[in-house]
């Protein structure tokens, strides 16, 4: 994987964005592409975006330039 600070920062920011989206789905603020818009919470979407956030943070750690 390409190692660069800007890429690592970008991926970390993406992770934070995913966490925010997960929270919005959990509280029912976001209703985009949900199967049941009447439901107050969308936990499946929340879990998906938490997984995406974890993956982004892992990718950010891989992209971070290492000293050794």
């Amino acid at each position: 994987m390409t190692r660069s600070t800007p890429l690592a920062v970008g991926l970390a920011v993406l992770g934070v964005v995913f966490i925010v989206i997960a929270a919005l789905y959990a509280f029912g603020v976001l209703q985009i592409l949900v199967s049941d818009p009447s439901s107050p919470h969308h936990y499946t979407h929340m879990i998906l975006f938490i997984v995406l956030a974890v993956a982004s943070f892992v990718a950010a750690n891989f992209a971070r330039p290492k000293t050794v």
């Binding site: 199967s35 936990y43 499946t44 879990i47 997984v51 750690n61 290492k66």
Partner: protein, 282 residues
């Protein structure tokens, strides 16, 4: 139904296609609109996922440990760590497509006719993958070798590219179409990525475990809220698990030298016969 689901979930013949077709052809009074249907399916999937976890228990311990080690270190140093990252890469596209598209796709194609037609397409996909594999075998001059020697010319699951893992993972989304087999498309995709047949099956089963387990766990609240015959459903889940375990053991042994062709031809034949039976109302 438990035995059918457990066996067909891992065999490359589409469990969803069979779940739609078999009750319809045999006139079973099994309604998918029944409130007990989803909890029933959840338990069957938990049984299948448990079987896969038991089968690969040692590898899953190494994969989970490898994931955390590599994630924290930011560097991959061994095959278990690489396999863990490949599985994560392959699971994400399937999870995204599953969460956003699964219900829409399933409702569009939830008819026995569509399932039968897609079963034929599933067979075509597997036969096509084997045709391309034979071409690759000719390229590496393995055509004149024995099957075991031919297979040795190809690689193992920990050594495919991340792009290939993502593509094979995304192929899992095709399995939302009743008639398209998750293991069929992922084993076929693995073959195109240069995996040995047995490794392709192993990668497919490892890739399927978090998806099947995750999909089942998400539905558990429905299971707890529903009034269902717990003992009967639990027995079906155990049967599904036993069938899945035996199927996986059989397939891993079969794919040491076997190919996808017999399953491809079975799907083509079963799809065509089902279409004829449905058309003539037999």
């Amino acid at each position: 139904m438990g035995l059918l689901q457990g066996a067909t979930e891992l065999f490359p013949v589409s469990s969803l296609g069979h779940a739609v077709l078999v009750p319809s052809l045999l006139h079973w009074s099994f309604k998918q609109s029944d409130p007990a249907f989803v909890p029933f399916l959840v338990l069957l999937h938990l049984g299948t996922a448990a079987a896969l976890l038991i089968l690969y228990r040692t590898q899953w311990v190494q994969i989970i440990r490898g994931f955390f080690t590599a994630a924290l270190r930011g560097r991959i140093t061994n095959d278990s760590e690489r396999l863990a990252m490949l599985l994560m890469t392959g699971t994400i596209p399937a999870a995204i497509l599953g969460v956003f598209l699964e219900n829409r796709i399933k409702s569009l194609f939830a008819s026995p006719y569509a399932a039968a037609g897609l079963l034929v397409a599933n067979g075509g996909l597997m036969l096509g993958a084997e045709m391309l594999r034979r071409r690759a075998e000719r390229r590496v001059q393995a055509a004149s070798l024995s099957r075991i020697e031919q297979e040795e010319r190809f690689t193992d699951a920990a050594h495919i590219s991340f792009a290939a893992a993502a593509l094979v993972g995304a192929c899992q989304a095709l399995a939302f179409l009743p008639g398209i087999s998750r293991s069929g498309v992922t084993i076929g995709g693995g073959l195109l990525a240069g995996l040995r047949h047995q490794e392709s099956a192993r990668f497919s089963f490892l890739l399927a475990t978090p998806v099947i387990l995750g999909a089942a766990l998400i539905e558990i609240p429905q299971l707890l809220n529903a009034r269902v015959p717990v003992v009967e459903f639990a027995a079906a889940a155990v049967l599904a698990g036993v069938a899945a375990y035996l199927s996986a053991r059989f397939l891993l042994r079969y794919f040491r030298s076997g190919r996808l062709d017999p399953y491809g031809w079975y799907c083509v034949a079963a799809g065509l016969v089902s279409l004829a039976l449905l058309h003539f109302g037999l």
